[in-house]
């Protein structure tokens, strides 16, 4: 049972992550003020991915889980990406 009870994450870590999340939020709002054309959406998505990465890794303890958890998460996200991506073979070429 020891495997599950390891890793009590200290308060400090959480607060640091929280501050990072707030900063990233500010950044994404700030970037949105500039017109970068199609790049805007990708920057916004990039920052959102970074933020969710932090939430998943630390708040949700994914960092401390086994490979099984990480691989499963990866496949779920990959499938979603594929679902979105394959649609564009229709949408972009219609």
């Amino acid at each position: 049972m020891s495997e599950e009870h390891a890793h009590i994450v200290p308060y400090r870590t959480f607060v640091v992550i929280w501050v990072a999340l707030l900063i990233l939020t500010a950044v994404t709002v700030a970037v949105a003020q500039f017109n970068l054309g199609a790049l805007n959406i990708w920057v916004a998505l990039g920052i959102a991915t970074l933020k969710s990465g932090l939430v998943i890794a630390v708040f949700m303890h994914m960092k401390y889980e086994s490979l099984l958890f990480k691989l499963s998460l990866l496949s779920a996200l990959a499938i979603l990406a594929i679902f979105i991506g394959l649609n564009f073979f229709d949408v972009l070429y219609r």
Partner: protein, 541 residues
């Protein structure tokens, strides 16, 4: 079913135990075998309703024009037939019934990982079924959209599509919970010594299936929810007059519903992979290849959905990509077929009913799969899309494939669960009748489809009459076979001769526990020392 008195061979196994008496002991039980049986009987009931509706469809099509019902009724009947068969019979079919009954035992577990959740998903199944039935009698009457619910028609028709959509949502939720329960069980509850490469192929197939259930089912959830919102709130995401795109509905629908056909077939393939070695007294040939092909089907099957949409108006580029991917997914299926045949080679084959049904699975699934290739090729699909050729294809794979596997599983595992044996001669005769009826019915459909008869046609031009009549007559033969099979099986389960622990000579764990198994399956946690098809080490050879 609670008064089912199982084996005379002493213990009544899990039938005799439980917290509540009678019916409550069933509908509130968290025992995987009781839940499995609840599923089994409910699924069977819906199957019988479904086939009777199929029979009615064939009667109506016996001659052009009105035969026994009007067009609106006909449209409601095929919608209902499709919805029941897909969402209430074939998707939950093998996993929820036989998966629940057998999979934990095959792993050497006492139950699934989340027994209460398991019970909850049965309740969701029943609620979804109740909603589907209610939809027939309320609102604007039974839905008339076909099981595919295509917009804009489904957003406009005055029939009770909204409630049917919610029923599908609920059933999807139930399927998801079963899936996540199974994945967790297989990861966490394997007995000591049950390494990944010692898991029986049936359980492996459930593992692959469960991942599809988890990752694809939510998409149908959101799709029908959007249809609901479109009808109720006018959200118009698929309504061209509001900037929406009806073809996107089809994409979302098939993103789930194509993987769903592999939810249907993979467990069936698992059943066959488990049965053939036992009756051939030979280990499954290419165990690893079969495992890998299951996973490959689950994955690649998620990439081909738009092969249902070649004529829909989507881009030619999409046709190219999806047609290509569709052909890739056929290869793992072919690998399995060859492996099954190779398992028979140099074996010692006993033609008992479970094997007969499994062999007819191979034949019929092959025919269905090969016609799937006709559909997968872009040019040929344009001709046969939405014709009876497609109807023929999916009855071959679903009924001839999964249906036969379901029958095989019934004849293979139910004696274990009930501790009694049916009459093997009658079962064999019924098998023959079913096979003949099946071929007559559905080959006629394929031919008439090649000639161009569109599906969902209440009426047809005179040229198509002969083949339609042949199909209808075939459905009568099929009906006789089915009645015979069910009567014999059910009679056997309740009145037949007691079976021992291992009537077929299987080497996997379920054949080491008593028939019926006790509530927590094993007296002591088992330790697995050999593979599921190692007949030498199991002492059978």
């Amino acid at each position: 079913m609670s008064e089912a008195t199982p084996s005379a061979s002493g213990s009544r196994g899990f039938f005799g135990e439980g917290h509540y008496p009678d019916i409550l002991g069933w509908i509130f039980s968290t025992d995987h075998k009781r839940i499995g049986l609840l599923y089994f009987w409910c699924i069977l009931a819906f199957f019988i309703i479904g086939v009777i509706l199929g029979l009615l469809l064939r009667l109506e099509l016996f001659a052009p024009g009105e035969t026994i019902m009007g067009p609106q009724t006909y449209n409601a009947v095929f919608t209902l037939h499709g919805v029941i068969m897909i969402f209430l019979f074939i998707i939950p079919g093998i996993p929820a019934a036989f998966g629940n009954l057998i999979m934990p035992i095959q792993l050497g577990a006492r139950d699934v990982a989340f027994p209460k959740l398991n019970l909850f998903s049965w309740w969701l199944y029943i609620s979804g079924a109740a909603m589907a039935v209610t939809a027939l009698f309320t609102g604007g009457g039974p839905p008339d959209t076909g099981w595919t619910f295509y917009v804009p028609f489904s957003a406009q028709t005055s029939t009770n599509v909204s409630l049917a959509a919610m029923a599908v949502f609920t059933l999807g939720f139930s399927s998801i919970l079963t899936g996540l329960n199974f994945v967790t069980t297989i990861h966490r509850l394997r007995a000591e010594g049950m390494t990944w490469m010692r898991i029986p192929l049936f359980t492996w197939s459930l593992y692959a299936t469960a991942w599809i259930q988890i990752l694809a089912t939510p998409i149908i959830g959101i799709t029908v929810a959007l249809l609901f919102a479109e009808r109720m709130l006018g959200t118009g995401l698929f309504d061209p007059s509001q900037g929406g795109d009806p073809i996107m509905f089809q994409h979302l629908f098939w993103i789930y519903s194509h993987p769903a056909v592999y939810i249907m077939i993979l467990p069936g393939m698992g059943v066959v992979s488990d049965i053939i070695p036992v009756f051939a007294r030979k280990p499954a040939f290419g165990y690893k290849a079969i495992v890998v092909s299951s996973i490959a089907i689950a994955f690649a099957g998620s990439l081909v959905w738009a092969h249902h949409m070649y004529t829909s108006g989507m881009s030619d580029m999409a046709v190219l990509v999806f047609s290509f991917l569709t052909f890739l997914v056929a290869i793992p299926s072919a690998i399995k077929v060859f492996n099954w045949l190779a398992t028979l080679y140099q074996g010692s084959i006993l033609l008992d009913p479970p094997l007969l049904y499994a062999l007819s699975f191979i034949l019929l699934f092959t025919i269905g799969g090969l016609t799937g290739l006709v559909l997968g090729a872009a040019a040929t699909d344009v001709h046969v899309h939405d014709t009876y050729f497609v109807v023929g294809h999916f009855h071959f794979v679903m009924f001839g494939g999964t249906g036969m596997a379901f029958f095989a599983a019934m004849h293979y595992w139910l004696p274990k669960i009930y501790g009694r044996m049916y009459d093997k001669v009658v079962a064999t005769v019924a098998w023959g009748v079913i096979l003949v009826g099946f071929l007559i019915t559905y080959i006629s459909m394929k031919v008439v489809g090649m000639m161009g008869m569109p599906r969902r046609y209440y009426d047809y031009i005179p040229e198509f009459t002969n083949l339609n009549q042949l199909a209808t007559v075939g459905s009568w033969v099929l009906a006789i076979g089915l009645v015979l099979m069910f009567a014999n099986l059910i009679h056997g389960l309740f009145r037949g001769a007691p079976t021992g622990t291992n009537p077929w000579g299987g080497a996997s764990l379920e054949w080491q526990v008593p028939s019926p198994p006790p509530t927590e399956n094993f007296d002591a946690d088992p330790v697995v020392t050999h593979g599921p098809y190692d007949y030498k080490k199991a002492g059978i050879l």
